[in-house]
């Protein structure tokens, strides 16, 4: 029993240096770069005196290691600084906006997995058929598509030309009331509230941005599924399973797909890196009130505390996701031990 938990514990321990590295880099981004942060934080109307005040208030008159300790201490207390634009703590801002981003990202990923994995499996099973070619075209086109451009095209077609989609402004049309906040996910909250109208309203609003993101992530997942399925299908155990007369369905899903899923899950980690970045662009296009558009507004207003808080939050989120992905390996494949690394 202990041997089963040891690798998981070891993987958790491995996260610590990465988190420390992430904190160091975000500290470097805030403080140690050329340019005077005090001038930035003091704002544009600052005088020499007020800049000096800010410098002392931020602890910028101290040495770098001391500053780093102060930074870490503030982080441990959940203090990411104050946003100039909204006047609230950055952490509060991020926390209120995070569910919007997560709802969008997760919906997009689920959507793209639902399409990409069957597509990849079919392309591998019927290699050389039209579905294989379709898969290849989608994969090459998919990685070339700038997300923000796809989003704009979709708005033009589905909002302006066809009129199917609601206006691309935020999570919910103003004719609906926000559902009572439980999870912050509008779909789940509306469902919990039993409010079907709000639910469909939120779903309509979510459809286009989610499809935009899904199109972007379709390519790597479909490519990896196809490649992994091809490898699995040509392996000895599949030949044996076939020779033993197992039904094709069982061979395909019970043996081949189960083994092929491992590299696909690995790809998901990389896909998340892209998705969290693309999220920023999609949120800007659809005026989605998530943390991505928050960061973009902060950038425009030179609200540095907010930007740095956003970068740190995204990195920690990404580390957490990778941790979950690695841990989920042990559920899919008990052979894997992290100790071998």
């Amino acid at each position: 029993m202990a041997t089963r938990w040891l690798p998981i514990l070891w993987r958790l321990v491995q996260t610590i240096p990465v988190v420390i590295g992430v904190v160091i880099i975000s500290f470097v981004l805030t403080r140690a770069l050329p340019g005077d942060p005090a001038v930035q934080f003091a704002g544009q109307m600052a005088t020499a005196e007020s800049i000096e005040q800010v410098r002392v208030a931020l602890g910028l008159d101290k040495s770098l290691p001391q500053q780093f300790l102060i930074y870490c201490k503030a982080l441990l207390q959940g203090d990411l600084g104050q946003s100039i634009a909204t006047g609230r703590p950055v952490l509060t801002d991020l926390a209120t906006r995070l569910p919007a981003s997560l709802e969008l990202t997760l919906t997009a990923l689920i959507l793209s997995c639902l399409i990409a994995i069957p597509l990849g499996v079919l392309a591998a099973v019927r290699q050389g058929s039209w579905i294989d070619h379709l898969c290849r075209v989608l994969v090459t086109a998919g990685v070339s598509l700038p997300t923000f451009f796809t989003g704009i095209l979709l708005i033009y077609v589905f909002y302006y030309l066809l009129g199917w989609a609601p206006s691309p402004l935020g999570r919910l049309d103003f004719i609906y009331f926000d559902p009572p906040r439980v999870t912050g996910f509008f779909l789940i909250d509306a469902a919990l509230d039993g409010d079907l109208r709000t639910f469909t309203g939120a779903a309509k609003q979510l459809a286009l941005p989610a499809i935009t993101l899904a199109l972007f992530t379709l390519a790597p997942i479909a490519r990896m599924t196809r490649a992994a399925m091809l490898t699995a299908l040509s392996s000895d155990y599949i030949r044996t399973a076939r020779a033993a007369g197992l039904p094709p369905r069982k061979v395909l899903f019970g043996y081949a797909l189960r083994n092929a899923l491992l590299p696909v899950v690995t790809t998901l980690g990389m896909v998340f890196s892209f998705v969290l970045g693309a999220n920023v662009l999609v949120e800007k296009v659809f005026a989605w009130p998530g943390i991505g558009s928050y960061a973009v507004e902060a950038l425009v207003q030179s609200d540095y505390a907010a930007v740095q808080g956003f970068v740190l939050a995204m990195a920690l989120l990404f580390v957490l996701i990778n941790l979950i992905i690695d841990l989920s390996y042990t559920l899919i494949d008990p052979r894997i031990g992290f100790s071998s690394k």
């Binding site: 240096p17 990465v18 590295g21 992430v22 160091i24 880099i25 975000s26 981004l29 805030t30 770069l33 050329p34 340019g35 290849r136 090459t140 086109a141 990685v143 070339s144 598509l145 700038p146 997300t147 923000f148 451009f149 704009i152 095209l153 708005i155 033009y156 909002y159 302006y160 206006s167 691309p168 490649a227 998340f272 890196s273 892209f274 998705v275 969290l276 970045g277 693309a278 920023v280 662009l281 800007k284 296009v285 960061a295 973009v296 950038l299 425009v300 540095y304 930007v307 740095q308 956003f310 970068v311 995204m314 990195a315 990404f318 580390v319 990778n322």
Partner: protein, 290 residues
């Protein structure tokens, strides 16, 4: 695939190139498109019919016509001219970014792969940490910290690409560190640096070229994305990302051409580099052909 000609005439690489081109017309197409983009980048500003910055409020937001092939934008500027002229800036940003990450990645990766030990471990930890960030987000953070200029977009794009190059070089150098030819080079009196630079490193170049081509497309997307969110390039300058951003405001009123054409060009450029990368991979490493 199967009819390999037995005779080996002239330059083997050129014959192979010709063979790959004939076998895969898509690769030939990508090389053709690539030359078009290079031409645009070099001569674009003399070929376009209008000044990309000249405004003409009398003819604002006109649909594509014989006068203005791609229509005009909200200030009456010719979208075609702007799209063509923008090629130079977009390609410059991505070429420079990729070149910087190529050089730095090569040096770091070669050193780590050749000497190993604590150097290798430290480098790996640093690369892991960079990769622990969602890369576009890290680029945003870097540009925000360094200041909002075009040079800083180049540096940011370069930094987030370094890990890819360093990893490729490290792996290629590491497996050849103890190879016969490397030991022979050492034995005949070459120093470590010389052996590494002239005997081992050139072997890493073919996979690196593939990486460069695949990376170029990504660098263009990244730079355009950054300027789309308002970083780096300033508004009157023609650049694809910022043009799409400006056009986005007019898409909901049906003026599709302002955003469509720069977006299309951007897409085509990225597509070209991705296709070329696949083609180069066939050329360099036929086994990994998909």
């Amino acid at each position: 695939m199967t009819d390999i000609t037995p005779r080996q005439t002239g330059n083997g690489m050129l014959t192979h190139l010709g063979h790959v081109m004939r076998e895969n017309p898509v690769t030939a197409l990508s090389f053709g498109l690539f030359s078009c983009f290079v031409l645009q980048a070099f001569f674009g500003q003399w070929l376009v019919p209008y000044d990309p910055l000249a405004t003409n409020s009398a003819r604002a937001l006109e649909a594509p016509s014989a006068d203005h092939w791609f229509g005009t934008d909200q200030l009456g500027r010719d979208v075609f001219s702007r799209v063509i002229v923008a090629t130079r800036l977009d390609l410059t940003i991505s070429v420079l970014a990729v070149a910087i990450s190529f050089v730095i990645g090569s040096v770091l990766g070669a050193v780590a792969g050749y000497w190993g030990g604590w150097l290798d471990s430290v480098l790996n930890r640093i690369l892991d940490t960079i990769m622990a960030f969602p890369l576009f987000v890290l680029a945003m953070g870097i540009v925000a910290a360094l200041g909002n200029t075009v040079e800083n977009i180049i540096y940011a794009t370069a930094i987030i690409n370094i890990p890819f190059y360093a990893r490729v070089v490290r792996a290629e150098v590491n497996i050849r560190r103890e190879a016969g030819f490397a030991l022979a080079a050492r034995l005949s009196g070459n120093g470590h640096m010389r052996t590494l630079a002239f005997h081992i490193f050139p072997n890493a170049l073919p996979p690196m070229m593939v990486q460069v081509s695949l990376n170029m497309g990504w660098a263009i997307l990244n730079a355009a994305g950054l300027s789309f969110v308002g970083l780096g390039v300033r508004p009157p300058t023609p650049e694809w990302g910022i043009m799409v951003a400006e056009g986005a405001n007019f898409i909901i009123s049906g003026h599709w051409w302002v955003a469509l054409f720069p977006g299309l060009w951007l897409m085509l450029a990225v597509f070209t580099f991705n296709l070329m990368g696949d083609g180069l991979r066939d050329l360099v490493d036929p086994r990994r052909r998909t």
